[in-house]
Symmetry: C2
Subunit: 408 residues, 2 copies
Amino acid sequence: MAGTLPRSPLAPDHFPELPIIDGVTFAAVEAGVRYSGRLDVMLALCAPGTAIAGVFTKSATRSAPVLDCQAKLGGKSDAGAAILVNAGNANAFTGRNGTDAVATVVNRVAEATDLPPNRVFTASTGVIGEPLAHDRITRHLSALVTAQQPGAIADAAAAIMTTDTYPKGATQTVQVNGSDVRISGIAKGSGMIAPDMATMLVYIFTDARMDQAALQSLVSATADRTFNCITVDSDTSTSDSLLVAATGASGVDVTHSDAFADALHAVMLDLAHQVVRDGEGATKFVEIAVTGCVDDAAARTHGLSVANSPLVKTAIAGEDPNWGRVVMAVGKSGAPADRDTLSIWFGDTLVAERGWVSPTYREEDAAAHMKNDHIRIRVDCGMGDGNATIWTCDLTHGYIDINADYRS
Amino acid sequence: MAGTLPRSPLAPDHFPELPIIDGVTFAAVEAGVRYSGRLDVMLALCAPGTAIAGVFTKSATRSAPVLDCQAKLGGKSDAGAAILVNAGNANAFTGRNGTDAVATVVNRVAEATDLPPNRVFTASTGVIGEPLAHDRITRHLSALVTAQQPGAIADAAAAIMTTDTYPKGATQTVQVNGSDVRISGIAKGSGMIAPDMATMLVYIFTDARMDQAALQSLVSATADRTFNCITVDSDTSTSDSLLVAATGASGVDVTHSDAFADALHAVMLDLAHQVVRDGEGATKFVEIAVTGCVDDAAARTHGLSVANSPLVKTAIAGEDPNWGRVVMAVGKSGAPADRDTLSIWFGDTLVAERGWVSPTYREEDAAAHMKNDHIRIRVDCGMGDGNATIWTCDLTHGYIDINADYRS
């Protein structure tokens, strides 16, 4: 269970040093929603004028807090904003009780922070189908407000974990028009990870200034190339939420800045990769680059088919360069492919081309690549210019261990 | 590897007694295509006038023998027919060499049996991407022809196994117009099992008489309700082939017989279930009945989403009635669903209704059902009359054990 799993062998060495983002403060508490002896509720408060953009799961059974957040995005407001997240209970498939719990929490946060309820965003992550004991959250609200600190983002990252084996953070500082703007983000997620949207809970804060519509457009496009390109187990959460808050406190407008867009992309990709690296039971980080397809969508379909194939994922776990299973996964995906124009590489080793094993292929070369903990598979369909890159992890005994007994 | 795995705990007690089908004979040999010390090539010979129908994988990277069989089906012929199958090598993604190997084997079988080449059907199952050592097959052809016996179908069932832990056979005898007609079939398959088509290699023989077009129509429709409703790991083989041979030797025309159609359905469903029961690492046989959907296709989409969800499959392995994961899998499937009209049963226990846990639900009831080795999950979408039933197995450490080291 959460907190008792060994740290992923693919984890970064340490949580990064995240700079303070002007205009946002954090606090976290041990509320005992489900877990005990650990932080499990976090509250972030953003300054007046903050623009909030978001991307959410497309699940038909999405959770009550997701539905509430979706209804609130896009509204114009000069008020500040609050983001409250609990771990341990997803408040998903909890019927009317779930909707009521969200309303109660939102209203109590609004009272405690002097914000309008439509500027209070919540998320819940954990077990599905059990009522959320919202009083365990609300009784800590005044403490959460009192304890707010600009530098407490690491506590917030820890408070949103479930089966994660490490907290996830990423940051970029970029110059726009001669001034620094900063982006810092946190994420949780290790299983029930697949597009759409990707994954999990992600909160990113920047002191840049951007209006809500432009920020939403940028965030949506960037999510498609980052969080929507990762998969751990092909299972899509009912709670996936990504919020990006731009406080504007730096005074720097980044609306047309490519440098800012690149930096935001870097933060989102870093967090997305960290989620994959914490994939339940993962021992290998796997990059699947698909090129030469009839269009980008076909490349994405092939890439996800390879990334989600249990046979490919177990072969990688076994360090077996079993490229036949990659052929199988491309063949089954439903997107256009031609056996006789397909080429496959493991690492830098060309293993198959023109419908058969390459004449230069030596299995020991591919086998050597499979010993790494960062595996690169490239598939070229030889049919066009469409491309996509998908990131995933292997499928191991650890995944079975974690998921055959999640609720106990 | 093949032959060394322990017999599936879900296996039937013994291979069934299969009656002789007039008009067909069998033989099998230890050819050493890849395995040693076991039968690995089988030849079945059907009498002149036999109608052959088939269903094959839709993979874009399907194997050379599949392409060859597909090209031959549907032709009218009064000649007999031969079916030759090897295990150990799939002859898939083997380029020009693969096509040549099929042609060589077909021509040599035709010579040895005095049949036209377009009445010789072959299949290969096993590792993908390695050249088929076809001389290891062809050098045994005269022995395979000489050894033909009407009663040797069990040897044929054994010869086509790869990671199967038991040979699979099924039979039905049915009265049509006062006369008995018999159907006997064999199958192999335990991993890389998913629609379409389902699965694996299946050969069914009957002494009924039916013209090819009518037989093809019946077989295609019945495959959609049997082999195309099973999944082990969502991975679709490049070699999946189902052939049904109607020798006509009983003299009984079954073209409009519902009894025959029902009996054929029973044989196909029995074999399909046996494949699931031999799913790699399986410890639970799982039936997912989906009702109340907007149409049958939506029900099938929901059923397959539940059946292929690693989180559902691992929960079943852990005997955890984690119905929240069923909600998740329905939500992500993409087919229409409404959280508030969804109902879910584990066994006979109603666990969720109207968007939340049922007021009558006691977890110990569902938990008791999960201890069985035949798990029944029912999902009702409350939206219409569409329904489908999907069969699968759980996802266990055994699947990882088998597939992280398949080629060694």
